[in-house]
């Protein structure tokens, strides 16, 4: 409590002082948990066998600026409550997955941001009642539904058996100097003023202190958290032929002190601007099939999309999913020199802080290192508390954005390679491969912005990764040539087999991943990959024209 008071965002600090004597949030959560559970257990029909309350408290500010002018400067303090009620039994409960159905019970209820027990407890009580009703209703429907009776390939139960965890480490909260952030955003964004070829640009700085509280009827009591600090630089323009182009860079750290020094930010802005200007003038890429190098960051996104999403445990028991790897445990799924590890306990890699670091997942299971692929062989899946036939325990990857239901999600994905060469050697290998295949050039994907993948059965099982910066690499020693309008396309399984070698220098891609349980922070760490065959298509051509009038001058 003492700590929470000291750490409050400047503007809120004063308002909380009078409440120093009040019991803390965890006590209110615990009190309401035992009270509701006892009554519902005795009088509910069906009674619950598990209740959990998770509160995500966030205090933070975001500032945004363009061309030296502030666009937004907002601070927020919120507490979001997620209530989980399980009725029935771990064998069959209200979360039971029926193909294509994704029941959502939680509603992201806002809790008061001050530790006064009664208002907090009243909200918890109301929300428990609402969730319990919906949970009971769904269980009754499930029990009478024929779908549940149809034998599924995976007839595993609905909830894993775990031991409770008690841990309390209220995180150190970063103090936020709003005026300073505003000045930085203004100053940095003003660098784009002298770049008339760039149509829009923005610098965003955000600092968010997050504390998670979790109590469950199994006895789990957790208080933990971390800070997320980031700088996002983005710019866009439109080429004379109408193609929209964007470039950007982001920096992520826990504490704001981990963000780069001004000098580094300034050179990143220069790079973002320069790259965009070059891209605008660059030739449009032709559709291409041939060898390529994916930079470490590009490879991270590539793996996150085409591999990471397919080893999320819950997809293996949802029959509307493609289930690419469901039956591949123990089999070779990647080249034997590659291993894939998900390690949310890791704070740093390759000189960068990792966005996917956490202590406990959103079901109260300790974060743990999970080797999903060892020497090319699939060992396990990312597990939440939704068990699979072969895996009846969570491995600490049940995650969500407040207001969504937990599913298994990625954390820090680390690609480890046993076949590494230097960056220079990897380039040489690319050129050799170009010659071998008789291609005019190979491609180098230096930066990608992100991507998406389709894992559902009805879909194409395809993925797309959206590259920002791509070069043609010629085998004859000509300098690399920047091209624009490239999109990587393909189907997952085919792509893995074509990884021939990797560099010895891992890079970090930090980002936010959106899926059915909302947007969560993740990262991917990978060395550069040499792929013998990659397929690209031309970005859909826009028919838009560049602005008709020249940009306004600086009359000020």
């Amino acid at each position: 409590m003492e700590r929470a008071l000291k750490a409050a965002v400047v503007t809120l600090a004063a308002s909380m002082l009078c409440l120093a004597q009040a019991p803390d949030l965890l006590s209110s959560l615990s009190a309401e948990l035992s009270r509701n559970y006892a009554v519902l257990k005795a009088q509910g029909d069906p009674p619950p066998y598990y209740i959990a309350y998770e509160v995500t408290e966030e205090q933070g500010c975001t500032v945004a600026a363009t061309l030296g002018a502030l666009q937004a400067s907002n601070c927020e303090h919120s507490r979001i409550l997620d209530v989980t009620v399980r009725v029935g039994s771990p064998q069959l409960d209200n979360y039971h997955r029926v193909a294509g159905e994704r029941p959502v019970f939680t509603s992201a209820a806002r809790l008061p941001i001050e530790d006064v027990p009664w208002p907090i407890r009243q909200t918890i009580w109301r929300e428990t009642d609402r969730v319990y009703r919906n949970a009971a209703e769904r269980l009754i429907k499930l029990k009478t539904s024929t779908q549940v009776r149809v034998a599924r390939e995976d007839d595993s139960p609905d909830f894993t058996n775990e031991k409770p965890y008690v841990f309390s480490a209220p995180p150190k909260r970063a103090s936020i100097q709003l005026a300073q952030l505003e000045e930085q955003a203004r100053r940095w964004s003003a660098l784009f003023v002298s770049r008339p070829a760039i149509l829009t640009s923005q610098v965003v700085i955000g600092i968010r202190n997050q504390t998670k509280y979790l109590v469950s009827t199994e006895g789990t009591r957790l208080v933990h958290g971390r800070t997320f600090s980031r700088i996002v630089i983005g710019a866009s323009t439109r080429a004379p032929d109408g193609m929209d182009l964007t470039t950007g860079e982001t920096f992520e750290a826990e504490d704001p002190s981990g963000l780069p020094a001004e000098k580094t930010v300034l050179s990143a802005i220069e790079r973002v601007a320069r790259q965009l200007e070059l891209l605008r003038a660059a030739p449009v890429a032709e559709p291409f099939v041939g060898p390529a190098i994916l930079s470490g960051r590009a490879a991270g996104v590539f793996f996150h999309e085409i591999f990471g999403h397919r080893v999320e445990g819950h997809r293996q028991k949802d029959e509307s999913e493609g289930q690419t790897f469901t039956k591949s445990v123990g089999q070779q799924v990647l080249p034997n020199f590659l291993s894939v590890v998900f390690d949310p306990t890791r704070r740093r890699a390759a000189g960068a802080e990792l966005n996917g670091f956490y202590l406990y997942d959103d079901e109260g299971i300790p974060a743990q290192k999970v080797t999903v692929v060892e020497a090319g062989v699939l060992k396990t899946f990312l597990m939440s508390r939704s068990p699979l036939q072969q895996f009846d325990r969570s491995n600490g990857h049940g995650r969500r954005q407040p207001g969504s239901e937990v599913v298994s999600r990625q954390s820090n994905m680390i690609i480890e390679s046993g076949k590494t060469v230097s960056d220079t050697a990897l380039r040489e290998m690319l050129k050799q491969e170009v010659r071998r295949q008789g291609k005019p050039y190979g491609l180098l994907f230096e930066q990608v912005t992100g991507g998406f993948t389709q894992t559902r059965r009805g879909g194409l099982q395809a993925f797309a990764v959206i590259p920002l910066v791509v070069y043609r690499v010629f085998p004859d020693g000509r300098p690399d040539e920047l091209v624009r309008g490239v999109e990587i396309v393909g189907t997952p399984l085919a792509s893995f087999a074509k990884i021939a070698a990797t560099s010895d220098r891992p890079e970090v891609f930090n980002g936010y991943c959106g899926a059915e349980s909302g947007t969560i922070p993740v990262s991917a760490v990978s060395p550069a990959l040499l792929v013998t065959e990659i397929e690209t298509q031309r970005k859909e051509q826009s028919t838009d024209r560049p602005p008709l009038l020249p940009p306004p001058g600086n009359e000020s």
Partner: protein, 589 residues
Amino acid sequence: MIRLLLCAALMLCMPAAFFAQPPAEDDVLLAAMRAELNRARQLQLEDLDRPYYIEYAVHDTEMLYASATMGSLADSRVQRARLPRVRVRVGDYDFDNGNYIYSDSMVGTAYSLSAFPIDDRPLAIRRHLWLVTDLVYKSALQVIARKRAAVKNVTVAEVIPDFSRAEPVKIVQPLKRLALDRAASENLVRRLSLALRAYPALAASGVELQISTGGFYFVNTEGTEVRIPENLVRFQVRATAQAPDGMALRDGANFLGRDTGELPTEEDLLAAVRAVGTNLTSLKQAPVGENYTGPVLFEPLAAAQLLADMFGRNLGHRRRPIAEPGRALSFAESELEGRIGSRILPEWMDIVDDPSARDWNGKPLLGQYPVDLEGVVPKPLTIVESGILKTLLSTRQPTKNRTGSNGRARLYGNFAANAASFGNLIVKTSQTASWTDLTRRLAQLCADRGKPYGLLVRKMDFPSTASGGEFQRMASRMAQSGGTARMVSQPLLLYRVYPDGREELVRGMRFRDLNFRSLRDIAASGGDAVVFSYLENGAPMALMGATSIVAESSVVAPGLLFEELQLERTEEDLPRLPIVPPPPVEPTS
């Protein structure tokens, strides 16, 4: 307009800061808008239409919002934003890209534009406007081409121009920034919400305070230039409860003003908060009403709410856009369209909309505005004279019955047009009784008809505080019951009045077939008229939170007696009571 702040809401009583105002020429935002507008006149894509009209509007606002529940802060924030709106018309006043189902569609990507700059930096502001104008102009070209093709395939009943002309005006007023005292606001909502702890009947409750301050900026290519203050203070209390049979109950109160000084004193706010607690406690114990056809008396506040609900969305002309064959269009004409010259109220009633009035009998009016969203100055209008509908409210969108704006464009609308809404709707009656006479009249009507009791409405659910789910249920119920398919607010506080004057609160009742025809038969009016202020947003029952752009409005009305209205039980499946009792209340120290 310098008003001495009579230390009203005590702690809110901090003198509003009067910043030195730059003259219009030095206002960076206004100058940037003007400069970019002038450049935009040259826009032309190849040999296609040039814009004949361009307007830039910017709502510049800084807002403080604080909410609390039972003494504990739930939310507190200060936000600053500028919301721009750019409109480009191509073609000419007779035929342009407006009034067509695709008029609002945007073509192409939006240049990755992010938020409008909130700092006074001309370059950043002008670049934003430059790109938005480019996008809107190109879209307008696409729309007019499509519309030209469409009109070849449909028979347009009557050719009406697309945009009416208006006198350019230059109204540049000083802005008056309200002070945003966050700590004081947080303390106020904490203190006032704490009072609701004394009402264990409540399942949920909240008190909110919002103070917005800023200005509305507008320029167009006809030469109009506007800068006027946009300030609003809103205090709200809301609570819900559940009756023993499961019926969901709610009550609330809303206070609005242009300045913190226009809010009631803290003592009066506290009384209003407590009243919500008392009302819900009483409602929880109240019997469910029975189907009723007979005389109904509206207290002045409820009467003003009813009129606001009936007239708020119906006084404006509406124009059906040009559609395409086979393409469904959801469009409803105003119920009053075509009734100009007909009697819609008793002959002893007049209604005037007077957006120039700042107060009524010393009580501040909220609906005063110097110029509307299209830069047109409103004049007082007699809407109803001796019960006869004289005119409707209009914007610059011509309709079959009217060309030319009367300055009532107060909400953004569809099909490249704006929606008309009133400012201060003032009901005047030539026959007016005292409140006592009116209650006596109610008793007499009941006696004549052999009714054991009459009904009295003290408060309507307007603007509605229904939740999204509740609103959906109401809408579907109304659709099922057929009727006029128009959503009418329901009474929140409804009483049976017995011959001996005894009042009995009832719950679970709604109006049936309450519409404009009902208003013709108002039997009498009386009691002291009240000022009811609210935020009109164009949604049914002005449902709170439905839209972000609102029109500050006031209605002044006395109590009204209807000879015959129908009310029925809501008849719906009631949710069960929670199995778990509420947590124990702690003493309020």
